[in-house]
Every structure is written in structure tokens, then in C-alpha cells.
Symmetry: C2
Subunit: 240 residues, 2 copies
């Protein structure tokens, strides 16, 4: 009887993985995951059996992982935290009697935040703009309420070919509740190969630089830039 470990590898560089995630991969016989994610940690997987799939087959990938772990130790790889828009939920939904361990990782908003300063220092939320499983009307409503609640907002899956205008529309919704000078950061490939970022205000934000490999972080009413660092103060009552 094997074990299935659902592993958040963090942003996609070995140094930003946890020791626990690293050891879990070492202890596994088979690595299951989207091929681009497996590539990011290739050096750890050289002596392993690989079961890699394209982006879409998430349910098939989970079923395969659950089936394979009856005999062998299986590592199912997610980037970021396996428990935030990752594979942990679907595995637990599909699981019958397999032994499953969820190993968290650094989620993309934490990684992206660290690249541009300290934008997430106060209450913050993660919202995915993907409408594959959630109606766009629900997404827009949530964006509006988060803006009204003065959350720092991290947008995951901010753009894809099928929905090129959502990001602009959502930023415009947030803009109704923020001053023009509010910082907006776009971080691509945060803390992994190919990292780059661009800093905007909500007034001059340009969605053209954003793709699916990006996280977009919009500040709260107190966020500001100090020498190219995006800072959100810890509270409302005194600003150091």
C-alpha cells in the first residue's frame, strides 16, 4: 500500500520549496503533474517515474494519482500552495480509502508580494479571474465587495485568450473604491526563472503586460510606493 502526497512546491524554484516538500518528492516513486511544473523541479525527479499531463486534464490526473498510489508512493505536484487553487481539493473530493497527505507551499500572492515589497501586510484576499468553473458575474461581485471592504486584492489567473477584457473590467470596478495613486503590481514568474515585474498606479495600469503567468496585486486605501517598493501599512491608526 502506497501513499499519495499532494505537494505544493511553492513558486517553482527549488530554494523556495519547503524541506518537507523536498523530502516528500525524494520519498516518492512516481511524480504526477502538469509537465511545465515537473520541469521546474526536474533535478529532483531524474530517478523517478513520471506521469505528466497537459494543463487541462486535472480530473484525469487526480484519478491517475489515486490509482497509482495503491501500489507505490506518489507525489502529485502543484505550484504554489496545493491547497489554494491547487490539486488538494479535487484529490480529497475523489478519494475513497487512499492514504493522502497535503503538504502546503508558498502561494503565488506571497511570492509575488515579496518581489515588490510588502503589499499584503494588512487584510488581503485572493480572487481567481478564471471563469471555467465560476460564472463571471459572481467573480465581478466578489471583486466589488473586496474593493469596498478595502482588502489588498491579489488576482490569480488574471488573463487568458478566452477572456481578454475581464482584467480591465475588474480593475475598473476596484478603481471606483480607490484613489488614482493606488499601487498595482504585475509580477510574472515570481521567484522562478524568467521573473519580471512592473509597477503601476491604478490610474495608469496597463493590462497588456499581463498574462496567465502573472499575479496582479492591487493595494488598499493606505498602500503606497516608497522608492519603488509597494508597501501596505499594518493598520489604519498610525503610520510609522
Amino acid at each position: 500500500m502506497g501513499k499519495l502526497r499532494v505537494i505544493g512546491i511553492g513558486p517553482g524554484s527549488i530554494e523556495n520549496m519547503s524541506l518537507r516538500a523536498l523530502k516528500a518528492i525524494e520519498d516518492s516513486d512516481i511524480i504526477v503533474g502538469y509537465n511545465k511544473y515537473i520541469d521546474m523541479i526536474k533535478v529532483l525527479t531524474l530517478d523517478k517515474e513520471l506521469y505528466s499531463t497537459g494543463m487541462k486534464g486535472e480530473e484525469a490526473r487526480c484519478k491517475e494519482a489515486l490509482s497509482l498510489c495503491k501500489d507505490k508512493n506518489v507525489a502529485l505536484i502543484s505550484t504554489g500552495d496545493a491547497g489554494i487553487y491547487g490539486m488538494a481539493g479535487l484529490i480529497l473530493e475523489l478519494r475513497t480509502n487512499e492514504e493522502v497527505e497535503i503538504i502546503p507551499g508558498i502561494t503565488a500572492s506571497s511570492a509575488a508580494g515579496s518581489v515588490v515589497g510588502a503589499p499584503l501586510m494588512h487584510d488581503n484576499c485572493n480572487i481567481s479571474l478564471s471563469d471555467l468553473m465560476t460564472p463571471y458575474e459572481d467573480i465581478k461581485k466578489r471583486v466589488k465587495l473586496a474593493a469596498e471592504g478595502d482588502f489588498v486584492i491579489s488576482l490569480y489567473n488574471p488573463k487568458s485568450k478566452g477572456r481578454p477584457y475581464y482584467l480591465r473590467e475588474c480593475i475598473n470596478i476596484i478603481k471606483e473604491f480607490r484613489e488614482d495613486s493606488t499601487p498595482v503590481a504585475v509580477v510574472r514568474h515570481a521567484l522562478r526563472e524568467g521573473q519580471n515585474y512592473k509597477l503601476f498606479t491604478i490610474q495608469n495600469f496597463d493590462p497588456e503586460v499581463v498574462d496567465m503567468m502573472s499575479i496582479v496585486i492591487v493595494g488598499n486605501s493606505k498602500s503606497y510606493y516608497k522608492e519603488e517598493q509597494f508597501i501596505t501599512p499594518r493598520g489604519y491608526e498610525n503610520k510609522s
Copy 2:
């Protein structure tokens, strides 16, 4: 000239730290932090100079770290992610010309989530109930909007002696937007020594088990328990 690294050590166990955080501590001459946090990673700090302080002196601690790094390499320790309710923001606010690196970690909601299942699989937010720097009226407003937006809600600093009733009041606010069966998990000392947790519904939730070492996670409208696992499905349109 030394360097200041602001390090998120994750939940407070060495195996859940990133390799980068581990190496940064090894490379530092001086460790600065709240004494209970330094204790959690004691084995890494045996050959280091320590500058530990009580919980309250956050600004003094940051100023000391900035001053010390003029000559030596300094590690300023936060639990969780240094960029989420941690020390990263205050350091960047106070910094003048020191070299500063922010090293992210696994935040407490990710750690707590992994202990009880996969509660954070869809849009989610972190809200601190501490009113030290934020008026309680603002906190309540934010809780209400997050509940209305159907976010999974993670409550940080859920309770302290000075505000014993906030948690009950905030759960009651959320309850107006959720069914009685909505899962609520309380995770104490997630992924570190002394870990324990308790699962409730929002209907039978008991704030008595909660203390400052706890994270409270409240599900969205689709969250459910499956064999003692707290699961939030990935979306709204099809539930596997």
C-alpha cells in the same frame, strides 16, 4: 556593510521552512525576533548572536535590526509569511539605505488549511481581528463584505483577553450569509509542536476553544465535510 534579511519561517517547524529561509539564517550573524519564534528554530541559531524581544516591541525590534545590519548580516524572524501581518512592511517603512531582502514563507492560513483538508481551494481572504491598529468597526465591515462575497475567510489573531467577544460577533455576522452546516475549523499551533484542531459547523461553533495561537477558517457557501475533511470545491458550476 551587512545585509538584513526579513525571513518568514512558515508555521514554526524546521521542515516547513523553505531552503532559502534556512540558508539565510545560516548566513546570518545575528538573529532578531520575538523570543518564542526564535525558540521554534533554536537548533539553527545555536552559534548565532541573538537579539530577542517580547511580543510588543515591534518597532524597536525593527529599528534594532536596521541598525545592526550596518555591520553584520542580520536575520529578522517572523512566523508564517513575513509579508502577511509580519515584519516586512515595518522594515520597509523604516528603512533608509540598508540592503533588505524579503524571504516569504508559508502563511498561517495555508498551514492551518492543510491540517484540516482543503478549505482554501476557492477565493479566500485573511482578516485579522486585532484592533490594535485597526478600528473594530472597520474590521466588522470587512467581515460582513467578505461573507457577502462568499469568500472562504481565515481569521488571524482571533481572540485576546482585551477583546473576548469579537470572534463570536464576527462569526454571527458571517452566519447571516451562510447555511447552518457551513464548516468552521479552529487550528491551534498548525504544523508545529502542540498542534491540535477542532471542527465545527457555524451553527455549533464554540469560541471557547480559540486562543491567539489559533487560526479560524470559515467555509464558503459550497464548503462541506467529507469524513472529517473540510473541503471547498474549486468552483460553482460542477462539483465532482
